[in-house]
């Protein structure tokens, strides 16, 4: 049975990738299991300079999901390279650096810096809903998606994934824009903007007022967007949003994903990604699937 997949020339031993922001830099979960069993690890969103993120309450539980407003807390490029890269380099798995910035220039400078390390790929995060400037601002309008992708691509010596926001009018247009700008792959979805209110205090639960919704609650939206993106671009797609089980992985692949990322599930259960790799093998056997790649885009349209 073949579990490995290839995305923009990078070989993943299986299609399970830990999603940005839910897996730190891999150290914490490596205390639970050898994280090298995963196809890949995507780092917490990095910025050129360190960021402390938002103060106060950053999480709220919602039915079958959660809202977060971390605000891109991260150690910045230099400390990432100095303190986290040496550990990541010891792992036998694909390392993807998730990069973000307030301006196009920041994103370009950061990409240039990170490309000098041994990371395998760059994931450009133009879709973070939890920062006041930048982030999602680049990710909404197709023209700005194309522009920033083009600029970052020019500075990027590694395969470039562009991570799309779901908080847009037409995901297909944004996927196409990223492809036109030179993206080697597209990942989606980031979190959906949402809100939680405490009726007793009449205040938002999150200090940032709004937050990003993730978890099983967003899976139907994520599947639809994966499917629409798949129909509109030729570059490989990494699907995510609410993946909890091996069945979910197959569904995303059938919709068009070549690999998937697993986010909130890691937060709900420290062994989530590890168990997914194991149960995926069992499920493929039961379904008599020889090569997992045959699933990608195999949806039978009604």
């Amino acid at each position: 049975m073949k579990l490995s997949v290839n995305i923009a020339g990078v070989e993943f031993k299986n299609p399970i990738i830990a999603a940005s922001g839910t897996f730190g830099f891999g150290r914490e979960y490596n205390r639970f299991y050898d994280v090298s069993v995963l196809g890949g690890i995507c780092t917490k969103g990095l910025t050129l300079l360190p960021r402390e993120g938002n103060a106060g309450t950053r999480i709220a539980e919602t039915p079958s999901g959660m809202l977060n407003a971390v605000g891109l807390q991260n150690p910045g490029a230099d400390r990432f390279i100095r303190e986290e890269m040496p550990f990541l380099e010891t792992l036998n798995t694909v390392v993807i650096a998730n990069v973000a910035g307030n301006t196009e220039d920041d994103c370009v400078a950061l990409t240039r810096k990170i490309c000098q390390t041994n990371v395998d790929m760059i994931e450009l995060n133009i879709s973070c809903p939890n920062v006041k400037e930048g982030g999602v601002a680049f990710g909404v309008c197709p023209t700005s998606v194309e522009n920033i992708t083009r600029k970052v691509k020019r500075a990027c010596t590694k395969p470039l994934i562009v991570k799309l926001s779901p908080n847009v009018s037409r995901i297909a247009d944004n996927a196409r824009a990223a492809q036109n700008g030179g993206a080697d792959a597209i990942s989606l979805i980031n979190t959906l903007t949402g809100m939680a209110i405490d009726y007793r205090t009449r205040r938002p639960v999150l200090s940032f007022t709004t937050g990003g919704l993730s978890g099983p609650a967003i899976k139907p939206v994520a599947l639809r967007m994966t499917y629409e993106a798949y129909k509109s671009v030729s570059v490989p797609i990494i699907g995510m949003g609410g993946i909890m089980s091996a069945e979910d992985v197959l569904e995303f692949m059938i919709a068009g994903a070549r690999a998937v990322q697993v986010g909130s599930a890691n937060i709900f259960d420290p062994f989530a990604s590890f168990n997914l790799v194991k149960t995926l093998t069992t499920l493929l056997k039961a379904c008599k699937i020889e090569d997992i790649s045959e699933l990608t885009g195999s949806l039978k349209v009604n």
Binding site: G24, E28, E52, A55, I59, S64, M66, Q73, I267, P270
Partner: protein
Amino acid sequence: MKDIVFTVTHLKFLNKDVFELKLTAPEPLPECRAGQFINLKVADASLCLRRPFCLYKFDKTSVTLIIEIVGKGTRLLAQLKKGDTVTGVMPLGNGFIVEKQHQNIALISGGIGCAPLLAVPLTHPNKNVCAYLGFSDKSKTVLVDEFKKACRVKVSTDDGSYGFNGYATDAFLDDFNSGVFKPDVLLTCGCEPLLKAVQQISRQLKIPAYMTGETRMGCGVGACLVCACAVHEGGKTVQKRACADGPVFLIEDVVL
């Protein structure tokens, strides 16, 4: 670390809203410290996040928790029956580090904030410990007898219906000012006004104090950064992870 499948061996209500839950593990547990916590899965697929609870008592194969029913998750946990299983990761967080030179220890708590403090005298039988346990009124008092078995205790109620009339911090200051007890360190857990009061006391009396709070959490293991606790460090305010860098912090440093 492991995800441990525990069996419920005991569940007892201490008052209308608070219950004691004893969980027994199938194999020896890792060593634990007062102030550490467990992140427990709730048996309802729509409640995705685990619930963090302090370890109240622990031994080689079991942990006991004191849980107050405040919402959906705790209500479900209260319905567990002897023999049911629950999954959780533990021990998490730093816990209270009791230093050698801290011979005299004052515990100051509000409500069920006393739960994580009991393990301090239990695991340090040679220290001189006095617990100042505050409750809103007599009907809310819990665990007083357990503390009495382990250390000296002074109970206070906000309305004076039992013990000292006032807050736990008032009861402590009463003893301190009259020279009854001069601790080397204060350990505290409770609501924010209590923590603020202890922070002030710590600054004024120049006695180090450690607190543990209730920050909302996600992973509980340090990976998702949703459990920010603002702490002064080197002239700056930085966001620490309550689950991994805490939950116990030097109160002096915490932005309350």
